[in-house]
């Protein structure tokens, strides 16, 4: 369609380029202004002098210290010269000082000469009034013969004329071998702390980031689809299962804990449990049951149940055994191990309740999905829609209740219920469109895709606005207040009005969607997990590690632990993103080949994905450690421990020579790590 002559097009292009350059210059000029770039400041002589002094000190780090020996000697001087009067001078011994003239008042220049000092060292002169409050004067170099001569100006000193004051000369010189200074020792201690801080943060973050990265990889999650009814049943059963887990599995965990704390029983119990599972698994897998049969599902559910019971027991036992070991190992090197295991045991004990809840939830959801999958498939049309509506309403209410609970925590989070409601509406419209409108007319794929997208967005915006109004989200977002605490009394139970309203919206949306979509429509479970995981990672990454550091310092106090927590959280986000990108870039061929053999999703991940991602994952982990060392110095500035905290104190006290040692140590460690991680990366990628 280019009927324009070539010359006019090239003119147009030149104009565009010209305008682009002009805009660029203007942007740059504004930037110059905004960032206060000023040449005057840089040329100001006093500033230059101060900077020079600071830099000189930074570059004269107090790395070494040496013992010094010193001699002190003094001469008398009279304040104000009186005719005919002289001051008596001390006897001239092997080292002595001569002052000429031996009297003077403020501003007079007099010369001080010394003999018999240590050759090639230096000397400090001080003014000593009768009150004894010494005042430093100057530093002077001593020549090769042990002699010095320097001029001083009489300082403004209080005292009557004719009073005798003294000038003291202290010559000092190093003796013996130089050794590391106190500062250096402290810096070494802190740099080791920093390296470990970064190491802990990185290693704790890795497993969590790996898990999240799989959920955040589109190519792995896209295939995971399940009928809507099945997904909803699983979702609705989560809190039920969680509750049952707290009720029924928690005692098992407790039993494991109690036994584990006695070591022997715990060990025997754990081994016996695992062995029992192995035996039963061997027997059960030997049974040849046809797929889709009731017994087939029963076997799977039974095995899962057994596995979870054994798992929670072993979990409790391991926690108990750790606590026991922590109490036993107290001495010497083993003390470190004992402390580690003991704390680990306590941590495991602390999260035991959550583990029981999660285990129950997982089990209930899988059981529900396992058994519902088959009979939902054979559900005829009216029943499918009705059941879809019921399950959708339950699921929607549950989801919004969860969001309302989060919104009750902080004002800004009030955005979540309308946001989630809008997302829900968007998804549902897409699903309904696919089922009712574009079905059977695949030829017009692109037009339908566009129409679906537009309709979804319209629905999302409308639902967002309605929910915003209904839930009074403005109260949270604009006034910055939490949702009202008013309560609806329903006789038996009472529920916060805000939560009830949110649940109502969820139920309506879910019910409507469930009714229109039916239990059979295909729900992109994988993509739902993908989006959730991505959102969490992005939100985490958006928070500055410095802010995380401040929050954790408030929570656990100043020290390296706060730094570890902040960097861990940040590393999870950063690594999760990097890892998931690597996973998305793997060769899809092996994935396809393993899937084609009839492997499960998990088997496909283990055989086709993991071998491909191990090298880049190791490389990124090294790289992260390197970054964490650097970042920990910044986290240290807000109290996160490590070398940064020390550096901040030194800078605040204007002790640049000490700060120089810290800066040097950081530079050395960072370059070593940089080099190491680069060479390891080169070797394995």
């Amino acid at each position: 369609m280019n009927d324009k002559p070539a010359s006019s097009r090239s003119v147009l292009r030149r104009i565009v380029i010209l305008v682009g350059v002009l805009v660029g210059i203007v942007v740059y000029a504004i930037g110059w202004q905004v960032t206060d770039i000023s040449l005057e400041e840089t040329q100001d002589p006093t500033r230059q002098e101060v900077m020079q002094r600071a830099l000189r000190e930074l570059f004269a780090p107090d790395i070494f210290a040496q013992e010094r020996e010193s001699i002190v000697t003094s001469a008398n001087i009279m304040l104000g010269c009186q005719e005919g009067q002289t001051v008596e001078q001390p006897e001239r011994t092997e080292h002595y000082v001569i002052i000429t003239p031996d009297c003077g008042q403020r501003g007079d220049v007099i010369s001080v000469e010394g003999f018999g000092f240590e050759p090639d060292s230096d000397v400090f002169l001080r003014w000593v009034p009768p009150t004894g409050q010494k005042r430093p004067l100057v530093r002077a170099d001593i020549d090769g013969e042990g002699h010095f001569l320097t001029q001083i100006e009489v300082p403004g000193i209080r005292g009557d004329a004719g009073q005798t004051h003294q000038i003291e000369a202290e010559g000092s010189w190093p003796v013996g071998l130089p050794r590391l200074s106190q500062t250096t020792l402290l810096v070494l201690e802190k740099i080791v702390e920093t390296i470990f801080l970064a190491l802990m943060a990185t290693t704790i973050a890795v497993p969590i980031a790996v898990l999240l990265s799989f959920f955040s990889a589109r190519n792995l999650m896209r295939q995971i689809r399940t009928p809507l009814g099945t997904a909803l049943i699983g979702f609705v059963l989560v809190p039920v299962g969680g509750w049952l887990g707290s009720l029924l599995l928690m005692p098992v965990v407790q039993l494991g804990l109690t036994w584990g704390k006695g070591l022997a029983l715990g060990l025997i119990g754990a081994v016996a449990g695992i062995a029992a599972y192995g035996l039963v698994a061997r027997y059960a897998n030997a049974l040849d049951l046809p797929t889709g049969h009731f017994q087939f599902h029963l076997r799977r559910v039974g095995m899962n149940l057994l596995l979870l019971v054994v798992f929670v027991f072993v979990f409790g036992a391991v926690a108990g055994i750790c606590v026991w070991l922590g109490e036993q190992l107290q001495e010497g090197i083993l003390g470190y191990l004992g402390n580690f295991l003991g704390t680990l045991g306590l941590l495991l004990e602390l999260v035991a309740g959550a583990v029981a809840w999660l285990a129950g939830a997982l089990l209930a959801a899988t059981i529900g999905m396992e058994f519902s999958r088959d009979w939902l498939r054979h559900l005829a049309e009216p029943a499918s829609s009705v059941l879809g509506a019921v399950l959708g309403a339950l699921g929607g209410a549950l989801l919004l209740a969860l969001m309302a609970a989060i919104a009750n925590q902080a004002a800004l989070l009030g955005i979540l219920p309308p946001f989630i409601a809008a997302t829900l509406a968007m998804q549902l419209v897409g699903m309904i469109y696919k089922r009712w409108v574009s079905r059977g007319r695949p030829q017009a794929g692109r037009a339908h895709a566009t129409a679906r997208l537009i309709l979804s967005w319209v629905a999302a915006v409308i639902v967002f606005a309605l929910t915003y109004a209904f839930l009074d989200t403005g109260r949270s977002l604009i006034d910055g207040r939490l949702p009202a605490a008013t309560v609806w009394d329903l006789g038996l139970v009472s529920i916060q009005t805000f939560t009830a309203k949110a649940m109502l919206i969820g139920a309506v949306l879910g019910g409507l969607g469930g009714f229109l979509a039916g239990t059979q429509s295909s729900f992109p479970l994988g993509m739902a997990l993908y989006n959730t995981s991505r959102t969490i990672l992005n939100a985490l990454r958006a928070v500055e590690p410095l802010i995380m550091g401040i929050v954790f310092v408030i929570w656990v106090g100043i020290g390296p632990f706060a730094g570890v927590l902040a960097l861990t959280l940040h590393s999870i986000a950063a690594l999760g993103k990097l890892y998931s990108e690597q996973t998305e870039n793997i060769d899809p061929g092996p994935l396809e080949a393993i899937q084609a053999t009839g492997a499960t999703w998990l088997q496909t991940v283990v055989y086709a994905v993991i071998p491909q991602i191990v090298p880049p994952y190791i490389a990124f982990t090294m790289y992260r450690w390197d970054i964490n060392v650097r970042m920990s110095t910044i986290i240290g500035f807000v109290g996160g421990g490590g070398i940064g905290f020390l550096l901040q104190q030194q800078i605040n006290l204007l002790r640049y020579k000490d700060a120089g040692v810290a800066v040097l140590a950081i530079a050395i460690v960072v370059s070593i790590l940089d080099y190491a991680s680069a060479s390891i990366r080169e070797r394995i990628v």
Binding site: T226, A281, N285, T291, G292, R373, D374, R377, G440, P442, Q443, A444, G445, R446, A449, G589, P590, E592, A593, I594, Q595, A596, T597, G598, A599, T600, L602, Q603, V606, Y607, A608, P611, Q612, V614, P615
Partner: protein, 252 residues
């Protein structure tokens, strides 16, 4: 018996890769699919084991509707359908034996296979399959250290571990030189003659197809253009499949 009924695939991008394709393949046949690149050969093969979900139509295999199978049933179906690929699709960093054992994943207990544990029988079986394709001595070599022809033979061994009744081969020799191509095709022929495995193989070159096929199916722009015996493809048919300007190239 594999029955394809009115198979249609429209990708999300709007490309129509398959357009109302129907045919039947009796057990034990060696069928070659030919067609220009982009004619839908890969799409067709991937629809059969549902690596791609077809938009419309049905695929019936031994009386089972593959297109309507649940995830569980689909895995049971897939493990009796072997597949080999143009790019071999081996796990490059793993050993040859691990690659071959991976063919057994559909049969093994998921928990054990996750820690790379296979039964002794499976190991022996894997070595036997490698023996059959003539590279038993390479069992513990990393897969990416093998030549192309050897890699494809590992691919065949992996598919054989599935104990397949049907073998899908998506341009299995397109990345190989002519001599190696023939050796790989001979293995497929052997499996067809000796083990009675039905073979559905897509190929670029008509000459190769003529040598090995019992029957040839040609696709053009996603439509079935030809379905018959190799000898029935005369010059007119050839031009109908490959376009007016096409010249016959022989591959020795």
């Amino acid at each position: 018996m594999l029955k394809i009924e009115h198979l249609t695939k429209v990708y999300d991008t709007g490309v129509q890769a398959l357009d109302d394709v129907s045919f039947e393949i009796p057990d034990g046949q060696f069928v070659v699919i030919i067609g220009l690149s982009g004619s839908g050969k890969s799409t067709l093969l991937r629809c059969i084991n549902r690596l791609i979900d077809p938009t419309e139509g049905r695929i019936i295999w031994n009386g089972l509707d593959i297109t309507a199978a649940t995830e569980e049933d689909l895995r049971q179906i897939r493990r009796r359908i072997g597949m080999i690929f143009q790019q071999f699709n081996l796990i490059k960093r793993s050993s040859v034996i691990t690659n071959v054992l991976a063919g057994r994943l559909g049969y093994t207990n998921p928990a054990w296979s996750l820690v790379n544990h296979f039964s002794k029988v499976d190991y022996q079986e894997a070595l036997a399959k490698l023996d059959r394709v003539g590279i038993r001595d390479k069992a513990y070599v990393r897969a990416d250290e093998l030549s192309g022809g050897q890699q494809q033979r590992v691919g065949i061994a992996r598919a054989l571990m599935q104990d397949p009744e049907l073998m899908l081969a998506d341009e299995p020799v397109a990345s190989l030189d002519p001599a190696t191509s023939h050796s790989v095709m001979k293995y497929l022929e052997l499996l067809n003659r000796e083990d009675g495995i039905t073979i559905l193989c897509s190929l670029h070159f008509l000459s190769l197809a003529r040598t090995y096929a019992d029957r040839i199916i040609a696709l053009k722009d996603g439509r079935l253009e030809f379905d018959g015996l190799p000898d029935e493809i005369d010059d007119a048919r050839f031009r109908a499949i490959y376009g007016e300007d096409a010249v016959r190239v022989e591959i020795a």
